[in-house]
């Protein structure tokens, strides 16, 4: 009886563990991203920055592997047939975020963008709003798998931090282009960095919008 019970839920437990690891990796990479950005603004490219970038890359590669594994398991064993497509869309959406963390850090590492001191606090705030949006999203995705009634408790925070990110981004762009002593090419480079960091919160909001529909479907 006991072994039967173990076999019955073994597959479910394995899959649950993979989804938990996948979400933990996104959460961890958001913290690493924040540390790496702050480190870059204080010290530029150094050993610590490269080490943080490597850690994010490792997590990104691991999450790609986990996502493929989860997708294969869901289809091979025809698990949650009704919500399978929603779950896959959710995992692919959240996986994009960790890709963005990695690509933004590579952008800094390759382009070695110079950031004026007066812009640094606003860039930090922009990074902060982006990672807070991601953290709220990760909490809502966890709730979707464990307790769908709680999904909405976190979703509204994603929208809040995305809006805050938009405000910071607009303010930052005005400051960039108000600087008459800077070259246009540098201004454009700074504006692009601003847009790229802000897009993390935008993608989080897109995933959150889909998630709210999935939660309604599950609840009905």
């Amino acid at each position: 009886m006991f072994s039967g019970k173990v076999v019955l839920f073994q597959r479910t437990r394995e899959l649950n563990a993979k989804i938990t690891e996948f979400l933990n990796n996104i959460s961890e990479s958001s913290l690493l991203f924040s540390q790496a950005c702050n480190n870059y603004m204080e010290n530029g490219i150094n050993e610590d920055f490269n080490s943080l970038l490597n850690k994010v890359s490792v997590l990104e590669a691991r999450n790609d592997q986990l996502r493929r594994n989860i997708e294969a398991q869901l289809y091979e064993h025809t698990l949650i047939p009704e919500s399978r497509a929603d779950v896959l869309q959710l995992l692919e959406g959240t996986d994009k975020i960790i890709n963005l963390f990695e690509s933004r850090l590579y952008q800094l590492s390759i382009e070695k963008i110079y950031i004026y001191d007066n812009l640094k606090p606003l860039y930090s705030e922009l990074v902060e709003s982006a990672i807070r949006a991601v953290e709220a999203l990760v909490r809502s995705v966890r709730a979707f798998f464990t307790n769908p009634t709680e999904v909405n408790h976190h979703l509204h925070k994603v929208m809040f931090f995305e809006k805050q990110g938009d405000m910071n981004s607009t303010k930052l762009k005005r400051m960039i282009f108000d600087n008459e002593n800077d070259e246009l090419s540098h201004k454009i480079q700074l504006r692009m960095l601003c847009d790229d960091i802000d897009s993390i919160a935008d993608i989080s909001e897109d995933v959150a919008d889909s998630l709210s529909i999935f939660a309604i479907k599950r609840d009905s």
Binding site: L8, T12, I80, T149
Partner: protein, 346 residues
């Protein structure tokens, strides 16, 4: 067992074979259609439990069907079952779902009309009233069950992956119960008409297991249904349940559960005796339509969502099928009797 008996019984076995596909569709159609269960697992569970239900609990409704026309010859029973089989076969070809219960009642009435014997009006009324009542009862059961499940899931939050496993287990257990109830309730349609003219001796299985003549008949009918499930139901199973309303795995479970409770209510001799012994109004032991019970339950689920997404056009076709099938079976049965000019013993 005589060859002549087996020949006449073949009408019932054919009816069992063709009904098997519909039974499987009604019980496991939504579970297989939503990919919660494989066809093979569902077919094995369905066959085994239908046979159990037929052999263990098939007596009550078979007696009612036997009383309806009191067909006293094997040849008469043969004609009634062949007419029911032909009616189902022809109407199913047009894509309209039919009820084996309606078909056999039509077959018996056709025989009665030809032989000039009166139909037992009290049994006939009982059957008709049960047919009208059963989808309504099933609808109410489904609504109550669905509300209870929703309330439970809101109170006890079950993680989605574990919920998936629980729903699969529930679908298997309820499907087994549904198959048992269906076997007990509907075996009367398949072989019930042969009971009044049954003159065979009880064989002994494996040196220790004895079956009454009726039990033996129910076993053969159950095996015919099982053959129908394996050989004929694959297509039905994959199309049923999506025609009138899109069901989720949980609502699919509710439909199967409501359906099996209704089938059980109209088949359980123990429940019948219990109600009678306590002076309560007894539920008649009548073979009801499995499709009617399923559709009643599906409508119940749809009503909880204010009927949104409910396809009304197929419902009209289904209702036409329920009315046309018995009439068609009466005509075929009467025509067959005229054609064969069977002399019925007084």
């Amino acid at each position: 067992m005589q060859a002549e008996f087996l020949f006449f019984l073949s009408g019932g076995l054919l009816l069992g074979f063709i009904s098997g596909a519909n039974y499987m569709g009604n019980i496991f159609g939504t579970a297989v259609g939503t990919k919660m269960l494989s066809f093979r697992s569902a077919a094995i569970i369905c066959s085994v439990f239908i046979i159990f239900g037929a052999v263990i609990g098939g007596g009550g409704t078979s007696a009612t069907i036997g009383k309806l026309g009191m067909i006293s010859t094997m040849s008469g029973a043969f004609v009634a079952t062949v007419a029911a089989f032909a009616a189902i076969f022809i109407i199913t070809r047009t894509g309209i779902p039919v009820s084996s219960t309606g078909a056999i009642v039509g077959g018996i009435i056709g025989w009665n009309l030809f032989t000039g014997r009166a139909v037992d009006f009290s049994v006939f009324t009982q059957i008709i009233l049960s047919w009208i009542a059963s989808p309504f009862i099933s609808c109410i059961f489904a609504m109550v069950l669905m509300l209870a499940v929703r309330k439970f899931l809101h109170k006890v939050s079950v993680p989605i992956l574990y919920q998936d496993t629980f729903v699969r287990i529930a679908l298997i257990l309820t499907g087994a119960f549904a198959a048992y109830s269906l076997g007990a309730n509907n075996i009367g349609n398949i072989v019930g008409v042969f009971i009044p003219s049954l003159h065979i001796t009880s064989p002994e299985f494996f040196g220790f297991l004895y079956l009454s003549p009726e039990g033996e008949l129910f076993l053969l009918g159950g095996i015919a249904i099982a053959f129908g499930i394996f050989m004929y139901s694959h297509k039905v199973v994959n199309t049923i349940g999506r025609g009138i309303y899109e069901l989720s795995p949980i609502s699919a479970w509710v439909v199967v559960m409501a359906h099996s409770l209704v089938m059980f209510l109209f088949a359980s001799q123990s429940l019948h005796s219990f109600l009678v012994s306590h002076g309560l109004p007894a539920i008649p032991l009548v073979p009801i339509s499995s499709s009617e019970a399923v559709i009643g339950a599906v409508i119940g689920i749809a009503l909880l969502k204010k009927g949104r997404g409910l396809q009304t056009r197929p419902l009209g076709r289904i209702a036409v099928g329920w009315l046309v099938c018995p009439v068609f079976a009466i005509v075929i049965s009467y025509a067959l009797m005229c054609l064969l000019s069977i002399k019925v013993e007084a």
